[in-house]
C-alpha cells in the first residue's frame, strides 16, 4: 500500500466518521462540528486528487463560510443551543428506505462503471493558469461575478432587515 493510499484511507475514514457524528450526535452544535470534520477531510481528498483549487474552495466556502453560518444559526436559536435534540422523528423509516435505495443505486453504478485511465496529461499550472484565464479571456465574467455577489449581498441584507422588523 502506497503512502497516497494510506492517506486516502485516513481521510476517507475521517470523512465517514464526521458524517456519522453529524447524524448521530444529540447536540446540534456538536453535529455541526462533526460536519466540519467531514468537509475538511473531503478537502484533503481533493488535494490528494491534485485538485488544488477545489480544495481551497472547499475550505474557504464550505468550512469557512457555510459551516460558520450554520454554527451561527444554531447559536442564534434559543431553543436548540446546548440542548439534546431527538436524533429520530416519525419519518425515520422513510429516510432509511430512501438512503438504502440511494446506496443501492450508487453501489450498482460504481460496480458496473468502467474506469478508463485518462489518455492526456493533467494541466501543470493549476491555480495560476486559472488566474491567467480569469484575467485574460474571461475578464468580463470575472467582473460580472462581482456584480452577482453584490446583488446577493444587498438581497440578503434586505431580507434580514425585513425579518427583523
Amino acid at each position: 500500500m502506497s503512502l497516497t493510499q494510506a492517506v486516502f484511507i485516513l481521510l476517507g475514514g475521517m470523512a465517514v466518521l464526521g458524517a456519522l457524528g453529524m447524524v448521530t450526535l444529540r447536540n446540534l452544535f456538536h453535529s455541526a462540528l462533526a460536519m466540519i470534520l467531514a468537509l475538511f477531510s473531503i478537502a484533503g481528498i481533493y488535494v490528494l486528487l491534485e485538485a488544488e483549487f477545489l480544495a481551497v474552495v472547499q475550505v474557504l466556502v464550505y468550512v469557512g463560510a457555510i459551516a460558520m453560518l450554520i454554527l451561527f444559526g444554531i447559536m442564534l436559536t434559543r431553543d436548540i443551543v446546548g440542548r439534546a435534540s431527538a436524533v429520530r422523528n416519525r419519518q425515520w423509516p422513510l429516510a432509511l428506505a430512501v438512503s438504502a435505495g440511494l446506496l443501492a443505486v450508487l453501489a450498482v453504478a460504481l460496480v458496473r462503471a468502467a474506469w478508463p485511465l485518462a489518455t492526456y496529461a493533467p494541466a501543470q499550472g493549476g491555480v495560476a493558469d486559472l488566474g491567467l484565464a480569469l484575467m485574460g479571456p474571461y475578464a468580463l465574467p470575472f467582473e460580472v461575478a462581482s456584480v452577482l455577489l453584490l446583488v446577493a449581498m444587498v438581497g440578503a441584507l434586505i431580507i434580514a432587515r425585513e425579518a427583523r422588523e
Binding site: 497516497t4 492517506v7 452544535f29 484533503g44 488535494v47 490528494l48 491534485e50 488544488e52 483549487f53 481551497v56 474552495v57 474557504l60 466556502v61 469557512g64 463560510a65 457555510i66 460558520m68 453560518l69 451561527f72 444559526g73 447559536m75 442564534l76 436559536t77 434559543r78 443551543v81 446546548g82 440542548r83 493549476g126 491555480v127 495560476a128 493558469d129 486559472l130 488566474g131 491567467l132 480569469l134 484575467m135 475578464a139 470575472f142 467582473e143 461575478a145 462581482s146 456584480v147 455577489l149 453584490l150 446577493a152 449581498m153 444587498v154 440578503a156 441584507l157 434580514a160 432587515r161 427583523r164
Partner: protein, 118 residues
Amino acid sequence: MLNHYAFVGLFGVVAILFPVAALVVGALAGPRRPTPAKRARYECGLVSQGESWVQLRVQYYIYALLFLVFDVETVFLYPWAAAYGQLGLFALVEAVIFLGILVVGLAYAWTHGDLQWR
C-alpha cells in the same frame, strides 16, 4: 504538488498531537490535589456567570452574511493572486474594479444602518 501538501499534513498531525501530548503528560506527571477553587471553571480569571450555552444576538447574523459574500470574493481573487507574478497592470485594475463593485455593497450596508449595533 502533493509534496507541498505533505507539510500541511505534517502541520495537521503536530496540531493534533501537541495538545493531546500536553494533556496526557499533565495527567500522568502532575500531582492531583483538587480543591473547590482549583476545580472551578476557568474563564479569563473572572468567576463565570450563567451557562456556557447562551443565545447570541441575532445581529451577528448580518455580519455572518456579509462575511459569506466577502469569503466567496476571496475565492475569485485567489487565482488572481496565484498568477500575479505573470500578470500586468491590467489585471491589477481588474481586481480593483472587482473589489470596488463589492465595496458598493459594503457602503450600502453601512449607510442603511445594517452595521449599527443595537
